[in-house]
Symmetry: C2
Subunit: 429 residues, 2 copies
């Protein structure tokens, strides 16, 4: 393993980075970062243990449980046509608005494992339900790791038993570690959110460094709050915020088989968030900022990532703007130029043109870090030295203007460098 | 520059490779490879010169001319919404079924250059017409190189004059050199084709190593024959054969701004190819094999390529099969596994699932080099050692079966390794 990315948080010896550190996600005024040691909201306990799936001996099994009488939840899953067994079992067997527990493992995706994969997943779900004294339909499953291997059920059953006595309100740190694979940075937050009706806590543990694509929640992300939400409110908030965060993040354009995002609400704060209230708006703002920052952290921790970028597309039709943003974000030529600190914006024009066949000649505008380089499809005069300096930053912004009014979209993406190749050409089954 | 790819033809000291060397393109029985020194068909002359665009001092300007009274041609261009100026000028100003000459340069794409780019292209077209004593509407233009730079017109005008006295029937070799950029291998053929009505010659010079995507002819390819064809026949043959060759090749999924394929027919053999005749069928077979072998050579010379693969998708709907084939061919995870000789077929399943959202659980079959590894979406028993050995080859075949009858498609693609990163992160404007 070579040195972690320069963007890797938590590996420096300086003071810890504040959670909201991207220029693209200002912290809302009513949200306070409690730091990494504040723990889960009231009503939640978690733990991560070593059950022996990962050859590295790192933590690989996480358990999260909500002790509320009537927890409320919402969940989103990969759109893949070949979803993993834990996704199918959770979708088919669970009451998704009443989830009480999560059993998550790393080191094995339990994908492309057929009927045995479903049986294996169901066994672990049943065991977790017994150990936690809850209904199996309340236990969501999540797995991440290599595809096509069968789940090591026996170690997981032992791990569930080992995790039981370790479950604690401060267990979000080990739980987070247990769901990581090629991640280099911790993606975790504990926030205090001041709502008009009272103060609530909002926490999240997130995993993702490869197989990240702007197509729903392409990662694992678990979010907890002690606010009291109706199931419809939880569903609405998670759905809207996932669209504005994980849906807009791409490391390699690859939709995973295992993506899962789950929001769980204990209600233990006694602060009730009514639909269409100011409380709902404020909680939504906090969740939005939380998930956007996590999505950017996932991109920044993209396999081998050294630089990240945001492409903003304005104008044209929504479908065209979306196609352009994704084409730029997923272009290996744009991504290698980003990696090399190369101001070769011709590759952006190429990606735009490829995304909009039949529109020639397209009057596209391009700006990099606020410097206009291309107007109406043609190069314009600009300060080459200033541009070369600007593309050396760690967060770059590309703005693309299409003819016509209306659409606006964005995608966050990482560069493509040698480390991605090293990780993925050597990361064997 | 590091060592060329192991697949790079012409760099070994052994005997020259036969033109038809891929297992995926058997040479038709009526086609004979004349070797690299046989030259152009009767009625054609060509030359490549150094005009000074490329800093390397390599050849960078090619001229091709047909001396027939009434040449017949067909042309295909990029579908990009941001096509380069030479594409726009050729499309707008030329009689595409009566092209008599080609002026092609490397080192500058003349793309994203606006009105000045169109003027520059037109100037070079006019100069070539004067030098060759032909109509400007008979001169096709083609450029390749970095996007966003203005065309160096003065060196090209001098180059046109220098090329004039060098034009010769054996000029296909230098013409080919003049259109190359990051290519490491020569992609050129001189074939003899036995038709029922007589023998004709079929030659081609092709360029392409990056920005290659399965979406029409994403490269430069010039094809000549001394057969006599009606314009409709030339159009039909080029169109069908491009669909089965360059449309099915992908290096990096990136559609170029400059892609151009031109077939020119001098008729100088006196062998007339009537529509719907046995002659047309046989010439079509020869052109098909020629363009498929060239497409595979382009993929094998993909920037940094060390291994190539064919993905064949059978079953399902045509649109679904096409989406699956492209998703696999363009997946950076599949491509890095191909590079690393890694039998990690889970990534193939992941790419298939991503291409067909909403079909879960999809009963997909996967075979690698004829070995079944996944049936109905689940891993099956196979000889892991044999699979590991099989994926070390230089040409790999992935077969994917989708539920249902009907569709069948294929895409040729290259691996993704360090050399692609090195070329593209360092290849600056």
């Amino acid at each position: 393993m070579s040195d972690p990315s320069p963007l890797a948080a938590g590996t420096s010896t300086g003071p810890p980075q504040p959670f909201f550190h991207s220029r693209w996600v200002p912290a809302p005024a009513h949200v306070r970062d409690l730091g990494p040691d504040a723990g889960l909201p009231r009503g939640f306990r978690a733990a991560g243990v070593v059950c022996g799936i990962k050859p590295s001996g790192n933590r690989d099994l996480g358990v999260l449980v909500c002790d509320a009488d009537k927890p409320v939840s919402a969940a989103r899953f990969t759109a893949s046509g070949t979803p993993a067994a834990p996704v199918l079992v959770t979708q088919r067997r669970c009451r998704l608005s009443e989830l009480r527990a999560v059993l998550a493992n790393s080191g094995c995706a339990n994908a492309a494992t057929g009927g045995r994969g479903l049986d294996d997943a169901a066994k672990t779900q049943g065991a977790a339900a017994i150990a936690l004294a809850v209904d199996p339909a309340e236990v969501a499953l999540a797995s991440t790791g290599a595809i096509s291997h069968h789940l090591p059920v026996a170690p997981i059953l032992k791990g569930i038993l080992a995790a039981g006595p370790l479950l604690s309100p401060a267990g979000d740190a080990t739980f987070q570690q247990a769901i990581q694979t090629t991640d280099l940075t911790e993606k975790r937050a504990s926030l205090e959110v001041a709502l008009p009706s009272g103060t609530v806590r909002l926490t999240a543990q997130c995993k993702g460094a490869g197989m990240i694509s702007p197509n729903f929640a392409t990662m694992l992300c678990f979010v907890q709050t002690d606010a009291e939400l109706a199931p419809e409110t939880a569903e609405l908030l998670l759905s809207v915020c996932v669209q504005r965060s994980f849906d807009r993040a791409s490391v390699d354009g690859q939709l995973s088989t295992n993506d899962t995002a789950i929001l769980m609400c204990s209600g233990a704060s006694g602060v009730r968030v009514e639909p269409a209230s100011e409380d709902e708006l404020r909680l939504g703002e906090a969740l939005d900022a939380l998930l956007r920052q996590l999505a950017i952290m996932m991109v920044a921790d993209g396999e081998g990532a050294e630089r990240i970028a945001r492409v903003v597309v304005r104008g044209g039709h929504p479908a065209g703007a979306e196609a352009v943003a994704r084409a730029v974000a997923n272009s290996p030529l744009v991504k290698t130029a980003l990696h090399g600190g190369d101001p070769n914006w011709g590759r952006i024009v190429q990606a735009v043109g490829a995304a909009l066949p039949g529109t020639a000649p397209l009057a596209v505008d391009v700006a990099i870090e606020g410097m206009n380089v291309c107007a109406a499809g043609a190069a314009i005069g600009y300060d080459q030295q200033a541009l070369e300096a600007a593309v050396q930053g760690s967060e770059l912004e590309y703005e693309i203007g299409l003819p016509g009014q209306g659409a606006e979209t964005e995608v966050f993406f990482s560069d493509l460098g040698h480390e991605y190749i090293r990780i993925n050409a050597d990361y064997t089954t």
